[in-house]
């Protein structure tokens, strides 16, 4: 009984120095890669994956802008890839080393953020949609396929105090603009005023602007309807089932369209191991590996090859593999100019201060 352990320990000790130099430094979101995927990659490349985490794109930008290095692969959201490219922070991808890039749905390639995908390869994504308590919404006879349900007082009256929206000016304005029939990236000040008026009118009916605890509130049953991220809504349902609730937390995709956020793998310009970085990116573009993340956290998946490896029960979530008709209505948010940002902040402050 003891011997094999001792041998294994000795082998590990002996093997350690040889592996010590081979490390891939991944700067990632927390819980954004399946542990078994990491293990398989480590076995494949005979290296160690060292992860460090950030919880906000701005954190990543600030840290790299100040000159931090030592990271190989980063996983920023598309609209942050753009400033990273402009800031000369990224190394172009050698596509000859990325045969699996062909697995990615063309709908998510060649975006304005990185034309021709010179620097970035899609990793996973989320959409900003409706999440709801199926029992309650059915009982109240409310629709779950339109932004009207969080903006129109006609519906809101029935769920007053049971609705939360994201505490994010860009996400909430995008939803309001979509509801009004404009693009989420519309920058016409008149349209923004309309959106602000719409939000102010709906605000008294909302329980809160909430960006972090709505998963829990949904699960507990305090909140019945949220404007939130698809991954969070998925998590809320898992938690609700695990806690033995009778209701489900479902995803509702508004027919007016929604915001899409695609996270991309990029290589830092000062990457100590660009060779391992490319190997890792190609590995993650493999359908099986990509599917493991979706199976774990219910993230949207831009990889067509992953579809066959997804747990069948996940296919009912529209946000995981958005169908073609929906894809056309999803928009990725673009950055605002400083002048637009000032106007947006002013409107947002007015909204927050309004009664």
């Amino acid at each position: 009984m003891k011997n094999p352990l001792a041998i294994a320990a000795a082998a590990a000790l002996l093997a350690a120095p040889a592996h010590a130099a081979d490390k891939l430094h991944l700067y990632n979101w927390n819980n954004y890669i399946a542990p078994e995927t990491v293990k398989r990659f480590e076995a494949l490349c005979k290296c160690e994956v060292v992860q460090t985490y950030y919880s906000d794109n701005e954190e990543l930008l600030a840290k790299l802008a100040a000159g931090a290095k030592g990271y190989d692969v980063l996983v920023p959201t598309a609209n942050v890839v753009q400033p990273l490219i402009k800031g000369g922070q990224l190394k172009p991808l050698d596509k000859a080393q990325l045969p699996n890039l062909k697995n990615v749905d063309p709908a998510y390639m060649n975006t304005p953020f990185d034309p021709g995908n010179q620097y970035s390869a899609p990793y996973a994504m989320s959409t900003t949609i409706l999440g709801y308590n199926d029992e309650k919404m059915k009982e109240l006879g409310l629709p779950t396929d339109t932004w009207a349900v969080i903006f129109d007082p006609k519906y809101l009256e029935k769920v007053k105090g049971r609705v939360t929206v994201l505490d994010s000016s860009s996400e909430l304005f995008a939803a309001a603009l979509k509801y009004l029939g404009y693009s989420a990236n519309d920058t016409d000040p008149k349209h923004w005023d309309e959106a602000a008026a719409l939000i102010k009118k709906a605000k008294p009916y909302w329980a809160a602007f909430n960006a972090s605890s709505y998963i829990k509130e949904l699960t507990v049953g305090n909140i019945w309807l949220v404007h939130g991220y698809s991954n969070d809504i998925f998590q809320a349902n898992l938690d609700a089932q695990a806690a033995g609730r009778k209701f489900h937390i479902l995803q509702g995709v508004p027919k007016e369209g929604a915001v899409l956020a695609v996270d991309n793998m990029v290589i830092h310009k000062a990457a100590p191991r660009p060779d391992l970085a490319l190997k890792f990116i190609n590995f993650m573009l493999d359908g099986k590996n990509s599917a493991e993340l979706t199976n774990l956290i219910g993230s949207g998946n831009p990889n067509l090859d992953a579809q066959q490896y997804i747990k069948p029960e996940l296919l009912k979530y529209p946000a995981i593999f958005p169908p073609k008709a929906l894809q056309a209505k999803l928009e990725q948010l673009q950055d605002l100019t400083p002048a637009q940002r000032r106007l947006r902040n002013k409107l947002w402050t007015e909204i927050k201060a309004s009664k």
Binding site: Q51, Y53, G67, T219
Partner: protein
């Protein structure tokens, strides 16, 4: 004895409740048999078991302890020297230099330290984080030590010198024992500041260096699990233990008042 006003009691009670109820809730839910921090389901030690199998969390906790101990020891020595210097020589510039790090916004300090380390080509890691923590802890220790010195009876030092003690002996056998409560309080303060610092650590930590606050913060986006409650409970226990040990070592250590002297 003065009669205690019921109002005063009520206010004190409310203040203590405000301080301690959140902590109690964290501890209670670390034993809850549910992933949600929402309702009591049943007692379990599962989260502690999971915690001790979670390598990432343990590494982070180990790093935090190592950095906290290093930072508190080094900054206590340097901070005590700085505090004495500020007290002894009434220099105008010195307090400014020592105390500025307390006043500057943390984010500014974090970013400037990061730029500084990058400029010097220091690889970001445990060492850079420890250096940064020492830098911001010195000021706190110095303040506490100086306050203690200000309350010290100067004639004791003079008496020691009159009796023929060397400057070192005077320091070792008279000054240091008298300011010890301040020094230990400073060290405890440095340790707690270091172990829960997020902003400065975030900027000065390199690839692969994770401390407990960084680890917990990055989990917030994806709903905090009771493992975080468990690790917080253990940290609280550790802090409590430190305070108990410190107060055992020197019973009036945590009292800053001088009036107790007859």
């Amino acid at each position: 004895m003065r009669r205690r006003s019921p109002w005063l009691c009520a206010c004190a009670l409310a203040a203590y409740a405000f301080l301690y109820i959140p902590l109690v809730i964290v501890v209670v839910y670390s034993f809850n048999d549910s992933r949600l921090n929402a309702e009591w389901v049943g007692f379990t030690l599962d989260w502690y078991r999971k915690l001790f199998q979670n390598d990432e969390m343990l590494t982070a906790a180990g790093n935090s302890l190592l950095i906290g101990l290093t930072a508190s020891v080094v900054s206590t020595v340097l901070g005590t020297m700085a505090g004495m210097a500020m007290y002894r020589y009434k220099l105008r510039l010195l307090p400014l230099l020592v105390l500025t790090p307390i006043a500057i916004p943390e984010i500014l300090m974090g970013v400037s330290l990061l730029i500084f380390f990058v400029m010097l080509n220091i690889t970001l890691g445990l060492v850079s984080v420890a250096l940064a923590h020492i830098a911001f802890c010195i000021g706190f220790v110095a303040i506490v030590v100086r306050a203690r010195l200000a309350g010290m009876d100067e004639s004791l030092v003079e008496a020691a010198r009159d009796c023929g003690a060397s400057p070192w002996q005077t320091f070792r056998y008279v000054t240091l024992p008298l300011i010890m409560p301040g020094v230990i309080a400073g060290a405890l303060m440095a340790f707690t500041l270091s172990i829960d610092d997020f902003v400065i650590t975030f900027f000065t930590a390199g690839a692969g260096t994770v401390t407990l606050p960084l680890q917990i913060y990055s989990m917030i986006k994806i709903a905090v699990t009771p493992e975080v409650n468990a690790v917080s409970t253990l940290l609280m226990l550790l802090t409590l233990l430190l305070i108990v040990v410190a107060s055992r070592l020197s019973p009036n250590l945590l009292r800053s008042d001088q009036e107790t002297a007859p």
